[in-house]
Symmetry: C3
Subunit: 455 residues, 3 copies
């Protein structure tokens, strides 16, 4: 591997790199925190369900909105911090980075989204009014950020993550006004692809020695998948109408996920030369159904339709992982590290188009609030979808350019996917075996998510 | 271990073995999915709480059944996918198989149970009516399947698991009609024992080199135990009557589990030659109380009785692990891989008998709905218990015979407990140390669950 | 490291040590269980929400208290058994001890607290009346025990843990009468420091070869942090008034934790020579905000104040880890293994003082129930705080003396932080690499929690 001489050089390079973090990261975080706390002090107050002064003798404590909102909020917290955190720790030597940068990013994304969404949606009498419902909305914005970041996992510094966060949130929340939560996955995906297009690293197309999993990291990652799988119904129903709408949302999500799970196992064995299952498929593609039912999750689409959407989205996602992602990287300079285009882009597109069709079917004589015919409404929604993709991609590319600024501590190619760059690592870090025979092993090892060496 | 020559032979054998999976698994899964989606399309519709057309102006959204059902449903999902998934990953090299085949099996079991139970219990006006309550019932049927499979963990292929699933569910749901959820553990146990009796592998009685745990797998497994422990009250109360019944069920389950936990630690140190604690005991025997209170969990049995049941069930379970399981394997050709007879059979029997006695005690002048005296009712229930065991065992044996068919990709003895048979494994898979000195170590290592070499 | 000769001696020493566990642990546990079950049989019965005989035709099942209490109870169970269990498994070779002794201790603490609190707070008509609300109260007492034990992690036997448990609970519940749940953290911290002061081990001041983390143990530990982080709002609100009080408690806890998380990352990079992040900081200091908002969590303190408390508590906690803990160990003979003084002591003090100030501010003309002025009330509360600390410290030292009794199987210095003393360990236990170059590495490795070798 490395002789003592180059190891010393390595340590020097590393130290110079992370020395930036010693000033830049605290400086950035403290600046942001000062901004947040000032905005909180000036603008943020309690809403009707959190303000003690607005409770009267007539108020029934158990009818406080918190009892309806908090359970879903907590479920989605588990998805964000635990599910996503574990899922992203699949790299053999980027477990700390995966789980812990997710922790930092998500925390900050939610804080910032509370403020932005506060100004756009919860602002009256000169104040942002805060309750758990704001937190749920902020979680959705946070999900956009985390999905986008999947495209560049292992290739950025925490400074870059925090800087890009603003741009993502602001763009998303401008667009979200008209689209509702349908566009979360689509927006997040194409924004992330825009970023990674600009941050293209040619040398990574031949693979990277640390771009592989270990037995334990694969286990932890699939555990993350299971957390996301179990609580996805909460995510899909949290912002739908209470009552039968939320009940249908839960049902459809469960059915869609079940269908995509079974289909994922089938396709994984089928598309693998030696008929073996790939852990990367189990970690990612099983979740496709949750995204694909998303846009029509509260409609009366029938349980069979939810099942069909699960199977369809899963198939598109799997084919994307096997064929489209390598093509995007090789030909279009889009290195999609976690394959977000398969799990959120393709499935999100199918989901949105399906919802438009279903809406046509379910309500034939539909006249939208603005007096459109059904056909016009469909065209309007397709246009909204198209402009969302365009704006997301452009926003992503602009953010990518921003991230190329020299002071943001971007890791060099050599130090991607490497915890040692930003963390103190334990004694056994360097003793973990790294893939020795990179040539043949690397090409055949489909158990490494995103490990497409001959990009 | 193996020289290059036999490693090549090994890889050949393995490839031939799993090549079966490349056609058989997708073929089976797609066939099943087509069947499911057709049945869904023809027969499955929304129930009163999920059908938008049945909601009126008078309907109060927050009184929708989903708000009572979904929390328990989600808790049990965590037990099934996360708790059980982690618990079953105790083998050093069968972590992928344990956690991921549990994922596949559970998903399919719930889907199939929704249909079968739908036809038996939720069918009217020519349709199965679906809501989250159906999902909860399906989770219980799924638990039967997963418990049964514990008897053969590491010794089957996913094709075998899916094939046997039908039989288990159909049998269970025929029997369950009269027994309620009391018989879950008993049925699952003896069905599983029936299967493993037929699938007896003589060479495994001397132990298997991969039939041991690693430090990380033991940690992940006990984490699974903790998930099951924390949410078992939800499992035991989900199908009891709302109100004080559910409250008692939660209370008794917690007390019973606490008692069995303390007792398990005591017995583990006591029954171990060197006075050390065994992780296998902590992973399994601590849970015994949850099963043992199960049959009387909503009755007015007094908290002290719940405590006593916990201690009793734990003791039976521990003695079973130490003495009965080796005997069953050595003399009766029943290789109970996870010791389900101890955790679900013995405890389930104690639970059922205790419930019968308690019912006698609590309601002396009991006249059952069919006009029986108390004594007759007790005899009737004992008869139901006996016939359940018999039917389960026979059903299990028939399923075992079915699983011996040649096209189901059954692993040879050599490839049991080995992820490499069905999964692409990461680079560090073969570098994990395997027990070298199998003789003395193996006999004394009680930390390996089910590691009873001299069967 | 060790030659065969001393390894044999080691095994002898170890065997003699744990042989004590074979008799002592079961004897102690069985004695305690007999005591518990007798007390249950004589004194414990159902409360109004669990007693079937007290339900009438007018009773609405869904208004049973269990539906308000159980969700918070289950969330806190997840924190206690899973969150804390994972967090405490950061030592490379004390994972079993960390997670499993936490399991044993917590189970027994809750059982014992149910009885003690039962006699103090739920006793009428000659009986302790039991429902899930009792369990929630018991969880809080359990938290006191677990926090205290953090000071001596890896340095005690399970026998010592169970013996000291009584003392802690009894002391705490005597004091808690007047203080509410504000004093949990403060009491637990100074009790634990009292214990560790008496159990001072001079040789540990130069560090211990096993007092370090591994890559996997650091991952599992931060996963525990995430569980605690996600559910801390449930912990802080479970015993506050229903309605807007609980809603504010959830909001403030979330805000406080978010603030301390961001601040922790900033300070971790800033205070580290090489600007790298330390996993120990991410595992512990991110949680400081949850403690610091605790005492005023249901008051109308404004969201900005919650944010400020989070930042403040985090800063105190981090400075404590970096500078105060080494000083306490080096100069005051207080070896605080997990740094509980930073995460619970300093933050708890800030929290309590802040609450006193806020109460002054919020209610200027306050006349406490006993006719005091606002100033008098503040002085009274400060006196209560001071006496709590004094009583806790003294109680802790007395307990420490008790733990020095010869029959409690205390590990020798050599066998601290070592699972092999009390557990059967898997084959790969001794192959895990231990820090080789202890001198320079040890001093710089801030990723090991509590690893302050030059105490």
């Amino acid at each position: 591997q490395m002789n003592t001489c180059s190891k010393a050089q390595n340590t020097d390079k590393m130290t110079k790199n992370s020395a930036n973090l010693r000033v830049r990261l605290p400086a950035l975080i403290f600046a942001l925190e000062v901004m947040i706390i000032v905005l909180y002090a000036v603008f943020v107050t309690y809403d009707d369900h959190t303000n003690a002064l607005l409770q009267t003798n007539m108020t029934k404590p158990m009818e406080n909105a918190v009892y309806q909102d908090y359970p879903f909020f907590a479920d989605i917290q588990m998805m964000i911090f635990i599910g996503f955190g574990c899922l992203l720790s699949f790299f053999q030597r980027y477990g700390f980075g995966g789980m812990v940068f997710n922790f930092l990013t998500a925390t900050f994304a939610i804080q910032w989204a509370i403020l932005i969404q506060g100004f756009f949606h919860f602002y009256y009498d000169g104040k942002i009014h805060l309750g758990v419902i704001n937190l749920i909305n902020a979680e959705f914005a946070c999900a956009v950020v985390l999905i986008s970041f999947g495209a560049v996992l292992g290739k950025t510094s925490p400074v870059q993550l925090l800087v890009s966060l603003f741009e993502i949130l602001f763009e998303y929340l401008k667009i979200n006004d008209a689209g509702g939560s349908i566009l979360i996955h689509v927006f997040a995906c194409y924004f992330g692809l825009g970023v990674t297009f600009i941050l293209y690293r040619p040398s990574l197309n031949d693979g990277h020695s640390k771009e592989c999993t270990s037995y334990q990291s694969d286990m932890l990652s699939v555990l993350g998948t299971l957390f996301l799988w179990v609580f996805w119904p909460s995510f899909n129903c949290a912002l739908t109408l209470r009552g039968d709408d939320q009940h249908r949302a839960i049902l459809h999500t469960f059915i869609g996920l079940s269908a995509s799970t079974l289909t994922a196992f089938a396709l994984s064995a089928m598309l693998n030369k030696n008929g073996k299952l790939s852990m990367a498929d189990v970690q990612n593609v099983t979740l496709a159904g949750g995204v694909t039912v998303g846009a029509s999750v509260d409609m009366m689409i029938t349980p069979a339709a939810a099942y069909a959407l699960g199977m369809l989205g899963c198939t598109a996602c799997m084919l994307g992982y096997k064929y489209l992602s390598p093509f995007l990287a090789r030909r279009l300079r889009v290195q999609d590290q976690c394959g977000i285009h398969n799990l959120h882009g393709l499935t999100g597109l199918i989901s949105t188009v399906a919802a438009i069709c279903e809406l046509q079917e379910l309500i034939p004589g539909l006249k939208a609030g603005l007096g459109r015919t059904a056909k016009e409404q469909a065209l309007y929604q397709l246009a909204a979808l198209g402009s969302t993709i365009a704006l997301a991609a452009v926003g992503g590319m602009l953010t990518g350019l921003l991230l190329k600024l020299p002071y943001l501590a971007s890791p060099s190619d050599e130090f991607c996917f490497d915890d040692e760059l930003f963390f103190n690592v334990p004694a056994d870090y360097n003793q973990a075996p790294v893939a020795q025979d990179l040539g043949p092993f690397h090409l055949q090892d489909a158990s490494s998510k995103g490990c497409f060496p001959s990009f």
